[in-house]
C-alpha cells in the first residue's frame, strides 16, 4: 500500500504543477479534444462519400470508431508518456529511476503524467455511450459485460503497444517514429471496419498483430454479426486473451530493455 501512496503523490504533484497556468492548461485540453474530433470526423467524411464503410452502416461504423477512440484515449492518458523514455535514455536520466526502490516503468509514467489528455477520455466515453445506444444490439448479460469491459481491454492492448514502442529506445534512441506507426497507426486501423483492408494487410494487422481485437471483433460480437470474410465467431470474444498476450510481451520487452541499458557513461 505504501508504494501506491508514493505513486499517487507523484501524480498529484504533476497535476498540481500542470494546472498552475490555467489558461495554458485549458488550451491544451481543448487542443487535444480537437484532435480527437478530427480523427473521428475523418471517418465520417469518408463515410459520407459512400454511405457505408466496408459493408457496415453508420451506427456500426460509429461503434467501431468510438470503441477504438476511447480505448486509445484511455491508454494514452495512462501510458502514453512512455515515449518520453527516449529522452531518459539519451540523457542518462534513466539512472535516477533505477536507483529508487520502485518500478522504473511505473515511475516513468507517474512522473510524466499528462492530465490534459483527460478531455479525450471523456469525449471518447460519451461517444461510446452514444454509439451503444444508437446501435442495434440485442442486449444479454454476456454483451453487457463485453460492452463494459471492451474499452479497458482495448486500453490494455494499446498501453502494451506504447510500452513496447518506447522500449525500442533502449536500442535505437532516434527511432521513436517506428512506434508511432503502430500506436497511432494502430488507432487509425482500429477506427475502420477491418473488411476495408487488402487481404495480407488485414491478416497481418487485424489478426497477427491483433489490432482487430481492439474494436472490430468486439463490435461484431455486440452487434451479433459474423465477419463477412470468415473470421470464426468465437474469436470475436477473445479480445481479453489478446490483450493479456500483448501485456505479457510488453513486460518481457521492458525487462529485456532495462537489462540491456548501459547508461551514458561518465
Amino acid at each position: 500500500m505504501g508504494k501506491a501512496r508514493v505513486y499517487a503523490h507523484l501524480v498529484r504533484a504533476q497535476v498540481r504543477s500542470q494546472t498552475q497556468y490555467r489558461a495554458s492548461f485549458a488550451l491544451d485540453v481543448v487542443g487535444s479534444m480537437a484532435v480527437f474530433a478530427i480523427d473521428i470526423g475523418t471517418v465520417f467524411v469518408l463515410f459520407s462519400v459512400s454511405g457505408s464503410l466496408g459493408g457496415f452502416g453508420g451506427t456500426e461504423v460509429l461503434l467501431i470508431a468510438a470503441l477504438a477512440g476511447v480505448s486509445f484515449a484511455l491508454a494514452d492518458l495512462v501510458v502514453g508518456n512512455a515515449d518520453r523514455l527516449r529522452e531518459y535514455v539519451r540523457t542518462g536520466l534513466f539512472d535516477s529511476l533505477l536507483l529508487r526502490p520502485l518500478s522504473s516503468l511505473a515511475q516513468l509514467l507517474a512522473v510524466n503524467f499528462a492530465l490534459r489528455r483527460i478531455g479525450r477520455v471523456v469525449q471518447g466515453f460519451l461517444l461510446y455511450l452514444v454509439a451503444l445506444f444508437v446501435a442495434d444490439i440485442g442486449w444479454d448479460p454476456a454483451r453487457l459485460l463485453l460492452a463494459a469491459t471492451a474499452p479497458l481491454v482495448g486500453a490494455v492492448f494499446f498501453g502494451s503497444l506504447f510500452v513496447m514502442g518506447a522500449t525500442v529506445a533502449f536500442w535505437w534512441v532516434e527511432s521513436g517514429e517506428i512506434a508511432n506507426g503502430f500506436t497511432y497507426g494502430g488507432r487509425d486501423f482500429a477506427c475502420y471496419p477491418s473488411t476495408m483492408y487488402g487481404e495480407w494487410f488485414r491478416k497481418l494487422f487485424a489478426l497477427a498483430f491483433g489490432f482487430g481485437f481492439i474494436s472490430y471483433l468486439p463490435a461484431l460480437a455486440l452487434l451479433g454479426r459474423s465477419d463477412p470474410l470468415g473470421v470464426p465467431d468465437w474469436l470475436r470474444w477473445c479480445s481479453p486473451a489478446a490483450a493479456a498476450i500483448a501485456a505479457g510481451l510488453a513486460a518481457l520487452f521492458w525487462r529485456t530493455g532495462v537489462r540491456h541499458y548501459r547508461s551514458t557513461g561518465s
Binding site: 495554458s24 488550451l27 491544451d28 487542443g31 480537437a34 484532435v35 478530427i38 475523418t42 467524411v45 469518408l46 459520407s48 462519400v49 459512400s50 454511405g51 457505408s52 464503410l53 466496408g54 535505437w172 534512441v173 532516434e174 527511432s175 521513436g176 517514429e177 517506428i178 508511432n180 506507426g181 503502430f182 497507426g185 487509425d188 486501423f189 475502420y192 473488411t195 476495408m196 483492408y197 487488402g198 494487410f201
Partner: protein, 266 residues
Amino acid sequence: MPRVPWALTAAGFRRYATYRQATFAGAFTNVIFGFLRCYILLAVAAEVGGAVAGYDGPKLVAFVWLGQGLLAVVSMWTMLDLAERVRSGDVVADLLRPINPLWTYLWTEFGRAGYAMLTRFVAPLVVGIVAFTFYIPQNWVTYPLFAVSIGLAVLVGFACRYLIGLTAFWLLDIRGVSMFWGFATNIGSGLAFPLAILPDWLATALWVGTPLPALLQAPIDIAVERGGVGHSLLLLAGQAAWGAGLLLVCRWVQARAVRRLVVQGG
C-alpha cells in the same frame, strides 16, 4: 547560386543527413500509414463505383503515397527552433549576423527538404508504385511542374512556420499557436482525404482563403494531372502568390518584432 545560400543549404542538408535512424524510422511509419490510408480510400472508391470526387483508383493511390512522401518534405508539423531561440534570447546572435535570419532559416530549410526528397519522399513512393496501380503522368510537362510545385510547397510551409515562430516575440510560448496550426493543416492540407470530398463551399474557402492546400493538395493535384496543364499552372500561380505574400508578411512582422526586442533588452 551565390556562395552564402549554397553554404546554408548544404549545411541544412548535412545536418539532417546525420540522423539516419530517424530517417529510416520516419519512412517506415509513412509506409505503414500509406498502406492504411490507401486501402481505406480504395475501399471507399469501390463502394461508390471506382472513383471518389473525380479521383479514380490509380489517382487515389498516387494521392495517398505522394502525400505520405511529401509530408516529410514539407514537414509542416515540425516547428523551427526560432521560437526556442527567441525564448532563450539566442535570437540576438542570429540578428547580429550580416544575413537576415529569415534567409538563414529559409536556405537551411531548403537543404533539409532536399535531403527529405532523396530519402523520405522516395521510400513511400517506391513502395506505393510496387504494391499498387499508381497513376503515371501522361504529359511530360507534369514532371517539371510537379518539381516546381514541391519547391513552392516547401516555401509556403516554411513561411507559415516562420510566422508562428515569430509570434514567440509576443507570446514567448508558441504551443497554442502551433496546436491550432496542427489542427488546421490536418483538415485543410489534403493529407487524410482529397479536399474535393468536402462540401464545395468549404473546399473553395480552403483553396482561396488559406495557404493550407498549397502544402500537399496542390502538388498532388498537379502530379495526378487533375484538370490539365492550365489547371496546374493556376495551382502553381496560387502557391507562388501565397509563398511571396507570406514571405513579405514574415519580413514585416520580423521588423516589428525586432523593434520590440530592443525595448525588452534596453
